[in-house]
């Protein structure tokens, strides 16, 4: 169905952006791919609840990737919106590309709000239920809670999804190419997420899973000799000795800065020349600072 924007005085571009943003938000929220993403994430969440209880830390570790299908869907919905910038009709639009792009980004923020709501509800439920198990005895807790910055990773990822969708949708001539590029970029970051958990690469990961496993150089004969504040992972199939499980709100916070930097960079690629320089510059700086600070936080 074609939706026509109400005619508004162009002297007040902010009102036009708001009006366009409302229309774009409605279209994106009703996009079938978003419904598919929500269903898949819901199924994944339900399967996670059925994990065996003897698999310590599984729910805590998997939680950040549960909204992965929603992130793919957000990118695709936003790409569809930005790709409409290539239709011949836009030549006759009464407002410029900057205003139209502002409306599209504003519409994308409705999807960010949806993700924020889901993440907040999940965090509150986990807190109300006393937390999750994490680590192996003697370095084990049954009350692990996500730090605020860990929860904020989800809205940051959603902003990145908006940026990626905007860049691919606006800059690639073929809509199919944009969708395939987004799928190919998101899929491994979600389902090969384990490959980015190592100490050396975790700051560069897109979806950051905590805890980060740190090798303990001097293995104690009795693991209870390790500092009582440490969470531990016992030797097993994937490791020969005890490992320290490092969780940190600061690490998650600087990772959020890195994600928002990448999002600004990609939005800069999508937007017209005016805001492009500012966004790309700010994005590169934020991403670089975010990565550097993460390396400084990891012991």
């Amino acid at each position: 169905m074609t939706v026509l924007a109400p005619l508004v005085a162009t002297r007040r571009p902010s009102r036009v952006v708001l009006a366009l943003g409302r229309i774009e938000a409605h279209r994106m929220l009703r996009h079938p791919v978003l419904a598919g993403g929500l269903v898949l994430s819901g199924v994944h969440g339900w399967l996670t609840l059925r994990f065996p209880d003897d698999w310590s830390g599984a729910r805590y570790t998997v939680a950040p990737m549960l909204l992965g299908p929603v992130m793919i869907a957000i990118s695709m919905a936003v790409a569809g919106s930005f790709h409409r910038e290539r239709t011949e009709l836009v030549a006759d639009a009464p407002v410029g590309e900057e205003v139209r792009a502002g409306g599209r980004v504003l519409g994308g923020l409705a999807l960010v709000a949806l993700v924020t709501l889901i993440a907040a509800v999940a965090a509150i439920v986990i807190r109300a239920r006393g937390g999750l198990d994490l680590g192996d005895a003697p370095g084990r807790t049954l009350h692990a809670q996500f730090a605020l910055t860990e929860v904020l990773q989800q809205p940051s990822l959603a902003v990145l999804a908006v940026g990626a969708g905007a860049a691919a949708g606006r800059r690639l001539r073929s809509h199919g190419s944009a969708l395939l590029l987004l799928f190919t970029a998101w899929f491994p970051t979600i389902y090969v997420v384990w490959g980015f958990q190592g100490r050396g690469v975790v700051p560069f990961s897109i979806i950051q899973l905590q805890p980060v496993s740190l090798p303990i150089t001097t293995q104690a004969a009795d693991p209870s000799q390790y500092p009582a504040s440490w969470l531990l992972s016992e030797p097993g199939e994937y490791q020969s000795g005890w490992m320290r499980l490092f969780t940190s709100g600061s690490l998650a916070g600087w990772h959020d800065v890195y994600l928002l930097g990448l999002a600004a960079l990609l939005l800069g690629v999508a937007l017209p020349r005016g805001p492009r320089v500012v966004l790309v510059s700010a994005g590169v700086v934020a991403a670089a600072v975010g990565v550097t600070m993460q390396y400084l936080v990891i012991p």
């Binding site: 190919t184 491994p188 389902y191 090969v192 384990w194």
Partner: protein, 187 residues
Amino acid sequence: MTAAPALVLAGATWPAARAVTWAPVIVADGALVLVAALTRRAPEDGTMPALACATTAAACVFALHDRGEVLLAAVPTGPMRRRLHRLSIVVAVAAPAWLLMRAVMPGIRGVGVLPVLALMTAGVAAAVWAPSPAVGGAPALPLLWVTADSVVSGSLGPAGDVLGWWRAEPWIVLVSALLAILAGRHR
């Protein structure tokens, strides 16, 4: 005198090849090579083969989109014949690229041809049977199917098993999709 349909299609091969939207095939293959290089040290768990099959199949289904569909509706060569003609042109290019990638990329080495064929024919069947406003969504079928399979990972009982048929029992998917295409040959 009317030319035989096969001759008409043979003569139309070059113009059709020029009209095919090649960008999705090129972008999918390029992105796959890049991702495989970036994740070459990641533990192999079937994710890269799934990604490679899904994007290759979807790219081939994207190529079915015919910008001249309305214009060509009046010609005596039917839509199914034109659809298969375009598909054969795309597969003739995508198949060697797929085999080359399979040979050189460690992540997808050893992946069979049948799973990608199964996903592609399922996408084509969706394009044949989808109501006209939803035809554009047909290439999403391989992507959605593989994502759902990765989410479920065989842990949803019989439904999870069915989601894994594209890789575990590709013959079932392939034959079912071919039958669906055959049944919709006049669409």
